[in-house]
Symmetry: C2
Subunit: 408 residues, 2 copies
């Protein structure tokens, strides 16, 4: 195996994941994993960040097998860049077309079972475009390999889902800093600020720590105030906070390549109020209860939809409408990481609801409910699955944050 | 048609392109274009930047027809964000799954011909992943639509390739500023600087103008010095410039959403030299000649590979090896834009070599040759195709830039 020529942080993370790979291929009974991509700056297969750490221009094939061989076939102009990653045992450069080298290498390896980088269930394992699939069929015509190919989704699920101690420590740090940012901004909040103003305060704290947002900066942080706030994925608006509003923020930061993803809920006191009204407290406490119940259920072997059902049932049992999303997703190098989800068996979640929880996975727990006339109550906590259950990486919010009326 | 709710620059560009679309669909005999995507922040279909201007989370369908209808079917949490773009005549939000709404809308439109967002030839028209294609087959089982579907590549080729006067003006400005940056850095160059040092000088000029690089900042600018310089896509290294080196830079900036992409060549004089040696001058002038010859040939209707052959033949005719890439690509909102290429009929270029040049396309012309013992001569100019031929948007480099020996 070529020694890593760059000792960069990212390279180390990739090398750690690549070292996990042969055992995972064995476990999944896959002899060779073929990742087929092109122009990856424009249309970026997320597995490249886990397996390669560099982009390619022309059609490129990355092959990994159970013996630890890692073979790259790339355009001649990309050879130097791929060699420099230090991750590959062989880097082959081609000029006019990838076909000859790809047929030769696959013929040499002659894998009885082959996985390809596509997945019906998740974009994280679905970097092979349909055009590239058709092209691969054309390039490998007369060979048995495309017919043998199966989705590499189970490999990606294991590789991204099972976090090392190092990865867990990074996510814990990202959670701690996110809570620090919430705590730093809370005293600056006041009625009259708009959603955009609040986002700006949060962004300034991220910038001061030189930490990038965990997802698209247009809606990280996302801020929602009041009963008419938009859906959870819209950008902050110029809606001002009013007395009696419940406000929530959805935000994460990236620390050393790993993400947090947390939500918190605030209440803005009306003149004369010293605490939130009963309806707000009841909504908030239902979310706390739902998170705690789901956390208690979250153990290796339980299926994703079973965890979701606990929180969903608790919320609807108290007369609230059910939230129209899953209870939680995995977190890692991306804010939405891994494949197994804590979610109901809805069409759009496909098989992801049916996967068992595994040790080392990191999940969010993020139920939601509307409090009529006030806004949305929602918290999002982050937990890691252990042998015996789960452990919180975020410090759970147990009391609603109260923002006093400004006394002028 | 919904009025645009945001008058932002990007939205205007998208609206301009969307207004071109019905005529292009008619021309290509396509009744409905279906763009099917999910989690577009992670795996981003480039057509979304041309057609939508926002990302989506769950499986989403964007449908465009010859009558100017623009229908979005997206997850309920994405509805507000998509409505806010102002580009859609109808935005449908779904909860549990996209299937029912998608089958209903397609059934209502019942298009005799349907295009889908995949392409064997280019990533720019290939945002439909193979997993999403399989999912679409499953969702539309029992309907005739997937069987009717063809690649939307010809639509994307026309939409991205045919530049408006506004788009051409933006690219011209980007070229002018890129040349300004080259001219500002030239007096600061000296033997002993590394490739990384030169990249840093160029980056500082971009930063001072608050302009982002036109592609991945790790290799925009790309800098290559001397006879052992790496391939054209590697990042700048710590190789120092030596007397007698030929150095070249590949760089572009983004101005108002549009890219430049230019290369320039320098010679570092040895002690006592006042001009470049004959071999260097001959190599440089061969590149100038090749560009001029290709530019004269570049007219509507000529095929991409015919233009490439002119420059390639001129260079090999003078005894230099042929360059191992295409002569030129289109430029636009991405540095590699459009679909038609000026390139040889090599396997990896597929049909792209066979497309005719059209009025309004913007191409680079970038031949390359090695000058033994010195480095690589390469310039990259940018031209727009007009009725009668082509017009340069960059000011072509006609003399090699000479860097004098430092006199201490």
């Amino acid at each position: 195996m070529t020694a890593a020529t760059s000792a960069s942080h990212t390279n180390d993370l990739i090398e750690q994941k690549l070292e996990q790979l042969p055992a995972i291929l064995n476990e999944k009974a896959i002899d060779v994993w073929l990742v087929f991509v092109r122009e990856s700056e424009t249309l970026h297969d997320p597995t490249l960040d886990t397996l390669v750490g560099a982009n390619v221009t022309w059609q490129s094939a990355f092959l990994f097998n159970t013996k630890g061989q890692r073979i790259a076939i790339v355009g001649s102009l990309d050879v130097a860049r791929i060699e420099r990653t230090g991750h590959f045992t062989q880097v082959i450069g081609y000029g006019e077309g990838i076909g000859n080298d790809l047929r030769r290498i696959l013929g040499d390896l002659d894998p009885p079972s082959l996985a390809l980088n596509y997945s019906t269930e998740t974009e994280l394992a679905d970097g092979l475009t349909h055009g590239m699939y058709l092209l691969l069929q054309r390039l490998l015509e007369g060979t048995p390999y495309v017919a043998r190919a199966v989705s590499s989704q189970p490999i990606v699920a294991a590789l991204r889902g099972r976090k090392s101690a190092f990865e867990i420590a990074q996510i814990r740090t990202a959670c701690t800093i996110t809570q620090e940012i919430f705590d730093a901004v809370t005293p600056k909040l006041a009625v009259g600020l708009t959603e955009q103003d609040v986002a700006q305060l949060l962004r300034a704290e991220m910038d001061a720590r030189k930490l990038p947002p965990a997802w698209d900066p247009n809606h990280c942080p996302a801020v929602f105030t009041g009963p008419d706030s938009a859906g959870a994925h819209a950008d902050p608006t110029d809606t001002p906070i009013e007395p009696g509003h419940v406000m929530n923020v959805d935000m994460g930061v990236k620390v050393g390549g790993y993400c947090s993803d947390m939500q918190r809920t605030w209440y803005f006191l009306k003149p004369g109020e010293t605490s939130a009204p009963a309806a707000v407290v009841r909504g908030f406490e239902t979310i706390v209860e739902a998170i705690e119940a789901a956390g208690r259920m979250l153990k290796p072997g339980v299926l994703g939809h079973e965890i979701d059902a606990v929180a969903r049932g608790l919320i609807t049992g108290k007369g609230y409408p059910e939230y129209n999303h899953g209870l939680g997703h995995q977190v890692g190098q991306a804010a939405h990481d891994g494949i197994g989800l804590l979610c109901p068996q809805w069409e759009r979640y496909g098989e992801r609801a049916l996967l068992p929880v595994e040790v080392g996975q990191v999940y969010t727990i993020e139920p939601r409910l509307p409090i009529e006339g006030h806004g949305i109550a929602t918290m999002e906590e982050i937990v890691v699955v252990t042998d015996r259950g789960c452990e919180y990486l975020s410090e759970p919010q147990k009391e609603i944050y109260l923002v006093p009326e400004l006394v002028s």
